[in-house]
Amino acid sequence: MFERPPTSRNRQTARRAALCACALLAAGGTAGASRGESQQVKDPHYGEVLFYFYQQQYFSAITSLLTSQQLQRINHHRDEAELLLGGMYLSYGLHREAGRIFQRLIDAGAPPELRDRAWFYLAKLRYQRGYLTEAEDAIGRIRDALPGELEEERQLLQAQLLMARQDYRDAAVVLGRMHGRSAWAQYGRYNLGVALIKAGDSAGGSALLEEIGRQPAVGEELKSLKDKANVALAYTLLRDDAPAPAQAHLERVRLDGLLSNKALLGLGWAYSAQNQYERSLVPWTELHKRPAIDPAVQESLLALPYALGHLGAYQQSLRQYEEAINVYSNEMERLDDSIASIRDGKMIEDVLQHDPVNEMGWFWRMQNLPDAPESRYLAHLMAGHDFQEALKSYRDLRFLAQNLDHWANTIGVYDDMLATRRQAYAQRLPAVVQEERARDLTALAARRDRYAAELARIENADDVMALANDKERQLQARLDKVETTLARLGNREDVTQARDKYRLLHGLLYWDISSDYRPRLWQAKKELKEIDRELAQTRERQEALRRAQVDAPRSFEGYAARIAQLRGRVAGLQSRVQAMSSAHARYLEDLAVAELTTQKERLAAYLTQARFAVAQMYDEASNAGREVKQ
């Protein structure tokens, strides 16, 4: 696998990528910008999706989005929602579905910036998952330069894809276009240099590594890369029988860096190859003190007695060989124990021991090596790409298993809820039906019609007095009595004054009522409308009740069928997730066991060589004894 920027950088990049990949929509819309810059949320449920999304609760965001899409309540944000979904699918490693969404949006005329970013992230994920042809297809669709550092990352990715199919010439052209000082460019050149050497172009590859190995480096990342370049170059020179220049490169490597063991080992070999055996003892003795798990240290256990033998210190050499045999044997035993432990499934348990099962995703990385004996043998493997990708997938499956367990426990509540609703319906229905029946809608409608007819008559006849209020009616009744009394008294002179007073009061009452006639008529019509509205509501209610009597049982049956179907899906998926988790666990175990087997085979080869050297020394001593006797 090619060299990548170290973990700290990866984490930063992953964080940036998380923002960019999931906020691909920043190029096309809402998320990724502050509220001030963003479009207005036009459907509150889309805002709810963003609420989860901005908290990096991508699973909740996806399920909330899918639910709202199904219930058709984010129609104002149809394209943005699709884009967001594509980005979040990508963050969960669902590059197949994400690709389909991006393609659909691009076909529908997505803006170029969005299009290019979408293809870039798709290419990156496909490359990480080993889909090289598909990654090349995606990166080939990017038309314009990407913003900022993304462009450099794109170029590096493109070069890596070209190198993966051994097209070093085009990879060199791509890398040549990169800005010379950037970390991405340096990593690209380093990878190209190593790839060229492997392909047989030592001169071309060495020139690239030489450049990185010589130039001053700032920061841990570039210093580490410089060490790598010098070590790679030195070993190439050693292989080509050029120990002196190799020595110069190795002497540039930092003693406290990650590659110091390899450099010390190589330095010893460089001295030895120049017959400077005594000098070679210095780096190898230093290595000898370091933990024997490192391959360079393991090799130094053989190299040291080898040099001592050359210097004629046979007793010392023999002791060192015997010590080496002891160390190799112990290490091989430990490796056997570790392989057994891995096959018992303990490795994955240990790796994810302190990892909360609250989210899943592409951007997750294992933070610390587990505290287990096999970890020290697997550090390199566990930091590597294949292991990490499979582990992420396993971790995602673990999250899904938990999610399904939750639903398996919850779905029973829906049955209870449905039963409660059925019961409540059955209990309430008779009372409601009775209550509705008690409202004699026909009698009410007849009363309303009589009222409307009377109102029409009053209006047509201008029957002012018909709209008198209670007090006025009482007054009218009293005046009617007075009128009756006056009529009985006839034309008597002494009641003339009373008759005049009656007329005045009657006129006054009529005046009062008639002056308020129009407002009273309007009010009466308003009341009629209100009666009409209430009658309509009552009719609606009765109709709804009638419908409910037909629909409710059907709806209960519908819900029951849905619950049963969903329960079946939950159970089916639980089995599939379990099977898939086991398959991933087996894959991870196989990766680890293959790595440990390689280490064991290497130790076995060293062990054979050490035993052979010891036997040879005894033979020589025995032969020397015979020579003396003869």
């Binding site: 696998m1 809402t30 790839a195 190439t236 002497e251 390899k262 210190a313 639903w407 898939m580």
Partner: protein
Amino acid sequence: MITNEFTTMKIQIEGKTRHRARKIPVLLWLAVAVAMAPTVYADGTAATSPARFKSLDQEAQTLKQDVMELNRDLLALEEELLFPASTQVAVFVSMDVGALFELDSDEIKLDDKVVAHYLYTQREIEALRRGGVQRLYLGNLRTGKHELVAFFTGKGPHDRDYRRGATVEFEKQTDPKYIELQIKDVTRNLQPEFSVKEWQ
């Protein structure tokens, strides 16, 4: 650098007897040389081949998709069953900028009954500030007139304790009712404003 450290170091060697070259393990260092060099994607062994991982990856993608779709269908069922459209009422909280008010908690009363009380984390506040909308309450109400009272507690301008309320009377009809409680910064008087929006 390695050279500075080791040029002056001496290793003690026991009495030399004779110099006779033995077979040199010349290929020893090649193991390391090969180990340290990067490799392109190789076929690997059958047990660890990229083809095996790809096959697992394909199946895992299908499985993840299926689980997400199941979640969608379950959530939709849950909502339809527990909060039918005819009685559903949802209360959302949103924040515009939010520089003048540091939201700490809120409380909702529906028809004088407390139905929700929520304490916010910093992450949730950030999500609100960036444009997220929180669904604070989902419940059921009969059709007709109702009153909603919301109280917001937090820190106002000059880091002073701040508690404000907002009230709305609304009519619940037979379609779902969505109410959004909005927290806005009013730059005119440098005060936060709390308003209520009824979604149609």
